[in-house]
Amino acid sequence: MTQKRNTPLLVLTVLSGLLLLVALYLALLGAPSANLQSETGRYAQRIIYFHIATAWVGFLAFFVTFVGGVGYLRTQRRTWDIVALASAEIGTVFMLGVLVSGSIWAKPAWGVWWVWDERLTISLIQFLVYLGYLMLRSTVEDPARRARFAAVYGIVAFISVPINFIAIRLWRTQHPLMFGTEEGGLAPGMMFAFFFCLITFTIWYVALMWHRIRLEQLRDDVAALKERVLG
């Protein structure tokens, strides 16, 4: 039975909240400004810290879903499926965040709401894959079958990620890029903010996962109780 009060989780949640505040400060104010002409460009560039950290979590989450799927197929244990589901849900939200933050960056930097550059394109495809995964789960009633199908799709779709990446990269290099990339080199102050955000977001992801997994386990407990009392 899942506990009602969970101190480590509480600590982690508070910690990730604090870290996020610090990260926010660093991103918006703390890190040095980029060496760009326009003021809007300089402000827009600050989104890179959150944007890339979000993308990192978005793809990490899918890897976890993949692992969860494999784990379930091999052991048939519900826990693996819960992990896969939780990660997929969180990943979907983060992926949406990538698309939105990418869009927010694009407008002041390049004057358009969307660019078909390789990273955004693959993020879009990844987002659609996530949606497909969640839709698939919603159309299967039987929990065992749902877990199996989701696991299979998670595996098949995960294999496609690197292939997609290669394909899109090839596609983009055959045509001259419309917009150059902004990376170049990052100043030391920026590097710190960058990695801080990566770590913060990862911790935030873990906290979210823990909460979501716990929620799902509680749901399972309720369902089991219902079956016992009413079934």
Binding site: P143, A144, A223, K226
Partner: protein, 246 residues
């Protein structure tokens, strides 16, 4: 195949769909050549049990052995000795009766000494004759009546001469004429040395042909015994008691 091992051996079989337990610990032993009639109300788990024995479904817990072998690994080869007749006819409507049987003959890789196709044809002819569909062999199955479909389904199930035959409520949806034919078939079946499990709602029809009977209620075997120990009236009483109490 272990010599002398029972044909079907289920030990503490459980099957859960989500939180709903369809089978809650079924123990069953069936020896070669026995004919078991399995009774039980709807939702008792009869179809689930049949599907597990047919290797279509994996149990959640417990084990099933066929001819002494665990179903898990050996499933693929075990299937060549199992025949199943269920609610669905498992036939292709666009194909003719003959083509359907030819397909299944290939899928079961009927023993081939000599020309495969010649042997297939001989077997198909024999089976069609047995179910009385020789005249309609070149007609697409979608033109068949329910009774004819059932007959062809039987043909399909016995085509590969399985040692274990499973019939899951075969009387469902049959008119009088088809039901009579089925009765005849089951009576013939009882005289052969095939091992058979028949699930049915009708105590009468089941007792007519079986030599062992069992009642499945709420996912458990509530009663099991030899046919010769009971008559129809006693059976009805036992059935009522057992399904009420469960």
């Amino acid at each position: 195949m272990t010599a002398g091992a029972p044909t079907v051996e289920a030990i503490k079989l459980t099957k859960a769909f989500g939180h709903h337990a369809a089978l809650r610990g079924v123990d069953l032993v069936l020896e070669e050549g026995q004919f078991l009639a399995l009774f039980g109300p709807n939702g008792a788990g009869k179809t689930t049990l049949m599907r597990i024995v047919a290797t279509l479904t994996r149990p959640t817990g417990g084990s099933v052995r066929l001819w002494g072998q665990e179903v898990g690994r050996a499933a693929t080869s075990l299937r060549s000795n199992i025949g199943l007749i269920s609610h669905d006819p498992l036939l292709y409507g666009d194909l003719t009766a003959e083509e359907n049987l030819r397909f299944f003959a290939r899928m079961y890789a009927l023993p081939a000494n000599g020309t495969r196709s010649a042997l297939d044809r001989a077997r198909i002819d024999a089976v069609l004759d047995q179910v009385g569909l020789t005249a309609r062999r070149r007609d697409p199955v979608r033109t068949f009546s329910r009774g004819m479909v059932q007959r062809l389904s039987i043909a399909r199930a016995i085509l590969h001469d399985p040692r274990l035959l499973l019939l899951d409520e075969p009387y469902t949806g049959l008119d009088l004429q088809a039901a009579d034919m089925l009765r005849g078939f089951l009576q013939d079946l009882a005289t052969t040395d095939r091992t058979v499990i028949l699930t049915t709602h009708s105590l009468e029809q089941g007792l007519e042909v079986c030599d062992r009977a069992a009642i499945l209620a709420r996912g458990r075997i509530a009663w099991m015994g030899a046919r010769d120990d009971v008559d129809l009236e006693t059976m009805k009483e036992i059935y009522r008691d057992v399904t009420r109490a469960a």
